[in-house]
């Protein structure tokens, strides 16, 4: 449930940042001639304050929603094996995909890391 709410928060957060950047055009979208330092600070800090309120509001809403969902839903019949396996597979695929980001040339290091991970999991 936490993962689900986190994914939703990530999506909503991303859209709200785009909206914020469009809104910022009104505050500081055009180069301004003749600004005093105080006026410039106002043009710059007003969006900072709004962005802070946006982030804090979204995070608070997500925490409250998660708390409510955890209390409201009965997890006793939750099919944990099937769901757990699908989650595990998704996480592993996501983590392994990072190798492409770092460059396939580093695959020996990826293999070495995987071997170390297996050893640590076995020891634990």
């Amino acid at each position: 449930m936490t993962v689900l709410v986190a994914l939703a928060l990530e999506w909503v957060g991303g859209r709200s940042v785009e909206g914020m950047r469009k809104l910022n055009v009104r505050f500081s979208g055009a180069p301004a001639q003749g600004l005093t330092p105080a006026a410039l600070a106002g043009r710059h800090l007003a969006p900072v304050a709004i962005d802070f309120a946006r982030g804090a509001g979204l995070t608070l809403a997500a925490v409250l929603l998660l708390g409510w969902l955890l209390r409201a839903i009965d997890f006793s019949g939750f099919p944990s094996v099937a769901v757990g396996t699908l989650l595990r597979v998704s996480v592993v695929a996501g983590l392994a995909s990072a190798l492409r980001l770092f460059g396939r040339a580093h695959y020996p290091l990826f293999i070495a890391g995987a071997a170390a991970g297996v050893v640590v999991a076995w020891l634990a």
């Binding site: 950047r21 600004l35 009965d74 099919p79 597979v89 990072a98 890391g113």
Partner: protein, 233 residues
Amino acid sequence: MLLRSFAVQGSWNYQTLIGTGLAFILVPALKNVHAGDPEGLRRALGRHTELFNSHPYLASVAAGAIARLEADGTPPEMVARFKAAVRGSLGTLGDRLVWLMWRPMSVLLGVSLVLAGAAWWVGALAFLVVFNALHLWMRVWGLRIGLRDGLQIGRTLKGVPFPRMGDRAAQAGALLAGFAAALAATGRGSRPWEWGVAAAAALLGIALGPRVRPAAAAAMVLALVAGLVLART
């Protein structure tokens, strides 16, 4: 200027990008240069609110260099050309090192620690410490060399060790990605048949790279929603 540089993206917008943020950083330097000349200060601030972009952590390089140019009495046209010349390289250098290498590597470090059995806050703290070690260093170093080198900053940037640091971060990241993937595959409660499925998922992830992430996220959501529906019925 250093403290102001932390808010450089505060008014990021689709027209002047971080132009207003750059001018905000430059206020103390420009006040000093134009002391007793409020009209000159306003003109200078107006010039610097024009379009500018760079990696946010390397904006301090540009701000330092521009402060130096303004202090040296460099003509505004030359300062504008300088800004146009450096913004591309400051963006590319920072994006490649920070967003593509250092941040994923730092995240993988935190995830690996949690998967290895550390408390969640240890993983979060490790991420914050490692990521911000580079972040803070870049801001301080950038402002210092910008102020020192001014117009010669391009020459300095050619010699920075960012590509080498990026390579090292990529190596560490690849090692940690393998470590975290293996721990997630073979973690608590998993069965041997699940290891085979997880290994296949890892191969798919390697083959498809970042393209696999939307599918992985969708699978997670699907699994959780299906689980919740089944749990209610």
